[in-house]
């Protein structure tokens, strides 16, 4: 074989390696996206189980519709927002051209193996964000109001947070050195604080508080279903966290911030934080609903540094999240009479907050973006405030307007009758228990299925 033939063979080999790398990248994100769908199976089971029998299907419909509406709206404008708004509120039209819904990159394109698969992963992040919010408002929100709020959260608010803090040129990273590997800020804090804003205006379910303000337990019709749902969310989280890593052909994995990492690092810390969250909540509550919610809070409490922590530190961060989340939920319930049906604010909002600030405490890691400061406590703290406001202000503001217009909540009689009967209409278990078994709201008594 002469030199020219060798060169030709090498060029062929190079092309093959590059194509193989490109396809491996697609395959990786394809399965991450598939795993993330399991998060929604989890949320579905979780929220249906956490609803009373008379609301089980309505909660399920709400959850399914959130997923369904996020996908087209994220296609229409969500992906464009991510590409355009990294700098704040002033869009970079040139950078976002490929995200326009009529762009040649936004459809089957043989020269672009990346756009669709990244869009797919991001749309699942968006749907996850909306599903986090949906659990907080079950059993009394109007379906249409919920859909509108879910679209705003999933296809506008969260992706704006992602553009600011979860984009290679996001201003939080470039100016303050923000680092948030597992999207504790853009996804969990934004969704948790949005949920808080809406629940304030939505008000508590009838019977949740006695006339003297004492909280009354409202138990869902299937706690085991909720627990299995939570476990499914955690399974799906491995897809979510995989989607937080950038695959580069022939090079080391990087985070979305450009810093080098490995799947191995994430494996160590995710599992340690997961177990820490369960143990933390077990110590405080002794009950399985909160143990699994605590597992989620544990992961979020370590999420920003899953690429950086010493695993036992991730474990301790997880324990912190697992302890604090149920206490935070109890605090907002007892002190502010807020009815967050599944503890979404405490688990996601507070868990994410612990995560962002926690990484600030254990900070000092360098950034790789030219001119960007290193990760620091104040950078993380200021970024956490931005994420909290970004979630809370639109959630509170929009729901306030909807409440004033009488468009946020179902009528009291419909709430008492149960939304399955009124809105769906279908009974969850028609051959066993009537959908309207118990509408008791006697003060002082627990309201059950």
């Amino acid at each position: 074989m002469d030199q020219a033939q060798v060169a030709e063979k090498l060029a062929e080999l190079q092309t093959l390696i590059e194509m193989s790398g490109t396809i491996n990248m697609e395959v990786f994100y394809w399965w991450c996206t598939g795993l993330m769908v399991i998060i929604h199976a989890g949320f579905l089971a979780y929220e249906m189980g956490a609803s009373r029998l008379k609301n089980a299907l309505a909660s399920g419909v709400k959850n399914i519709l959130a997923f369904a509406f996020i996908i087209p709206t994220f296609f229409f404008f969500g992906w464009w927002i991510y590409l355009a708004m990294y700098n704040g509120f002033v869009p970079d039209f040139a950078a976002a051209e490929a995200g326009l819904p009529w762009s040649s990159a936004m459809g089957p394109n043989l020269t672009d193996n990346a756009s669709g698969i990244f869009w797919g992963a991001f749309v699942l992040f968006a749907a996850t964000t909306a599903s986090i919010f949906s659990g907080a408002v079950i059993e009394r929100i109007r379906m249409s109001s919920f859909i509108i709020l879910a679209i705003i959260l999933g296809s506008v608010v969260w992706i704006l947070g992602a553009a600011w803090g979860w984009h290679p040129q996001g201003w939080l990273t470039v100016e303050w050195g923000f680092h948030d590997f597992g999207a504790a800020g853009a996804v969990h804090m934004v969704a948790g604080f949005f949920a808080l804003g809406v629940t304030i205006n939505l008000g508590a379910r009838i019977g949740r508080f006695a006339p003297d303000g004492t909280p009354q337990p409202i138990t869902g019709h299937s706690v085991p279903m909720s627990i299995i749902g939570l476990m499914l969310i955690i399974v799906g989280f491995f897809g979510f966290l995989g989607g937080c890593i950038i695959y580069s052909t022939g090079a080391q994995w990087t985070t979305i911030f450009g810093t080098p990492t490995t799947l191995s690092s994430i494996s160590f810390n995710t599992l340690m934080a997961f177990s820490g969250g369960i143990i933390g909540s077990y110590v405080i509550t002794r009950q399985p609903f909160w143990m699994m919610s605590g597992a989620l809070a544990g992961i979020f409490s370590a999420a920003p540094g899953l690429d950086l922590y010493y695993p036992p530190l991730a474990f301790l961060m997880g324990i912190t999240g697992g302890v604090v989340a149920p206490l935070a939920d109890k605090f907002i319930t007892e002190k502010f009479k807020i009815d967050d049906a599944v503890g979404a604010f405490a688990v996601h909002g507070v868990g994410g907050l612990i995560g962002i600030i926690g990484l600030g405490v254990f900070s000092g890691f360098p950034n790789v973006i030219e001119g960007a400061p290193a990760i620091s406590f104040f950078g993380q703290l200021k970024s956490a405030v931005v994420m909290a406001l970004l979630g809370f202000v639109p959630g509170f503001g929009l729901s306030f307007l909807m409440a004033k217009a009488g468009f946020l909540r179902v009528p009291p009689k419909a709430e008492e009758a149960g939304l399955d009967l009124v809105e769906v209409p279908l009974a969850a278990y028609p051959e066993s228990v009537p959908a309207t078994a118990d509408h008791s709201t006697t003060p002082g008594n627990a309201v059950t299925a």
């Binding site: 709206t73 394109n109 249409s144 179902v410 009124v422």
Partner: protein, 55 residues
């Protein structure tokens, strides 16, 4: 109806239906947006109808 933007797979990029027809894309995209918004409006109407008996 021929909606293919290509006549050969050689050197092709965007292969989706109507990729070479901005007008058709505008119509389909507008229709998709209208259906999405329309469904929300229909949902509001459905709720208002169902709530009549529960006012």
């Amino acid at each position: 109806m021929n909606v293919s933007p290509i006549t050969t797979w050689e050197g092709t990029e965007a292969v989706f239906t109507f990729a070479d027809s901005p007008l058709a894309i505008t119509v389909i995209l507008s229709l998709s947006i209208a259906v999405t918004i329309g469904t929300v409006i229909a949902s509001i109407k459905h709720e208002n109808d169902t709530y009549i008996d529960y006012k």
